[in-house]
Symmetry: C2
């Protein structure tokens, strides 16, 4: 049923060499011949055999992933969403995954083994921390990689895709301040992750510019679950001087926070304002909250897709992608933000 190169070449009355070159975009083949080849491919449904390509080129056509088995990571909604984006793109190019579950303490060994195995052409790294040692390690491994996120305090010369977390939360905080809010709380992700650090930093900068400070009693760091959002918000509301506005690092956290606010009988956007970061999880849309949420938006799935594109493009030496990308999150105002209540 399935034709191979040889048959295709015979069919066309050309040599395998020429057909192969035509397909792989080499210059030394007549434009007209190339068209004939492409036409024949369409008609026969020819698909090159990946195993043969792997063997001939020495490329693995697959990307490696160390899947962290640690609380609050693999189990995370956000992980699935990102992975979906990554896989969606990979499958288009017929790339495989090598998923390598690993406890944090074994990660280095796992990475080394993966790189040495020859089973992957590139690696991907996420959940960046400040001074993340994995970056230096990967550099020393001489295998291409792309980082999702950025470290802090490390040299900047490594390929990454990150969103501008600092600006996102700077913008969000500034909006709240402009609306007259003075006591603003923060429900953030885990303290050691770099995105959390940057978001807090952005918020601090906005406050400082207006002569305000952040009350550490109004800051919570945790896994980004509904549960934690709920508890954190409850704690804030029990404070002697509760905040009039909150920033949440995820719509999942916001879900819990909203619940606590409602339970306390407060009105969102009125008694208390809320801005959440929106990773565009299809199952949790900020516009569908009973009071639609003001958000800083950046699609996690799109980031996955983009990283796959860059990784694969790099391997195939197609296209030319920037080594470092910093996506700006959009600040989208909906009904959950309003002027600070007058006392």
């Amino acid at each position: 049923m399935a034709v191979n190169l040889k048959q295709l070449a015979e069919l066309l009355g050309l040599s395998q060499t020429t057909v192969s070159r035509a397909l792989n975009g080499y210059p030394e083949v007549n434009a007209e011949t190339r068209q004939r080849v492409l036409q024949a491919v369409r008609e026969t449904g020819y698909r090159p055999n990946r195993a043969a390509q792997r063997l001939a080129t020495g490329r693995a056509y697959s990307i490696g992933m160390v899947m962290p088995i640690a609380p609050g990571i693999d189990s995370d909604v956000h992980f699935g969403e990102f992975l979906a984006g990554l896989a969606e793109e990979a499958v288009k190019h017929d790339f495989h995954f090598v998923l390598n579950p690993s406890a944090p303490e074994d990660e280095e060994v796992t990475f080394r083994r993966l790189a040495a195995s020859g089973n992957v052409d590139a690696l991907f790294l996420a959940y960046m921390r400040a001074n993340d040692p994995r970056i230096a390690m990967l550099k020393s491994l001489s295998i291409p990689f792309v980082v999702h996120g950025r470290s802090i305090g490390e040299s900047r010369d490594y390929p990454f895709l990150d969103i501008d977390n600092t600006s996102a939360f700077y913008d969000a905080a500034r909006l709240l301040i402009q609306l007259g809010h003075q006591r603003i709380a923060l429900i953030n992700g885990p303290e050691y992750l770099s995105f959390s650090i940057r978001r807090k930093k952005g918020m601090l900068r906005a406050l400082a510019e207006h002569g305000l400070t952040l009350d550490e009693a109004l800051v919570e760091h945790s896994l980004m679950t509904d549960e934690h959002g709920y508890r954190s918000m409850q704690r804030f509301l029990q404070h002697a001087q509760p905040p009039t506005a909150v920033l949440c690092s995820s719509t999942v956290l916001a879900l819990g926070a909203v619940r606590a606010i409602n339970q306390a009988g407060l009105k969102i956007g009125d008694d208390i304002s809320l801005i959440a970061h929106d990773d565009v999880l299809p199952m949790l849309k900020p516009e569908n909250f009973s009071v639609p949420l003001t958000t800083t938006r950046s699609s996690l799935r799109a980031a996955g897709t983009r990283i796959a594109t860059r990784l694969i493009g790099g391997i195939l030496k197609r296209g030319d992608y920037p080594e470092q990308e910093l996506w700006r999150a959009e600040l989208i105002v909906r009904a959950s933000t309003g002027p600070a209540p007058q006392k």
Copy 2:
């Protein structure tokens, strides 16, 4: 650095054929010779080139997975845990994954494409529903597969690994009845999934055997999140005749349920008893609850590992695994169950 078969054969003064046979367990090789070969492998660190094996054997050495992109599935804690088990085993045998994200409506096409691509040797299927049409489809595709879970109402002649959900919840309910409980509630997983159906059935059977019935107002079906556990429990407690015991389909649900119970000022194991199904999620151990939970236990990760083993064993034609396995969950009694309160 890395040696190949040819070099290894030269080193040993044997032919490639013999070395290959020695490694792949063929009978026509002297036991002593085989030992020499294995020794040399150990010394040189020889690893067969997978790409070459793929090409020579026509096997893909990889397993395909359709990753559902639907609310409450991929995003689930349980998914990550299962996948970790699967991947852990796969990586040992140097197997790859082809992850294929797909919306439910495109699943059939995705499966067909995957099977036809020759990129996978076997498929894996989960999230079974009653009368699940995917089973008949996969059978028609003539590619090996293993189902995690079982359908209901379908013919039984397909390979699966499931836990005995009916018995698990039968046992749990019976224990509660023996403790004097008469009004028992159920916080279950999504209504359309077969494990939910079976768990409910098991519970019903135990009740019926003791002349009891299930009040449908005491049954909730939902995604297995903390949030839903909380809400469901709250609803039950507001009932005119609240239950004296609850069954939860997951420790994640139980987390929320416990919160609601505490909030209502009730004592677990005293005012109200609780039994949860425990998938052995490392981040959420029933023994660490403030009142340790009585559970029906069966490790999800172990199931993933086992399915990978069967899948890979089947592909390599090694070992002989049962086509159908039904694991019995253990009923482990801890402090969350006690005699029904006397009124």
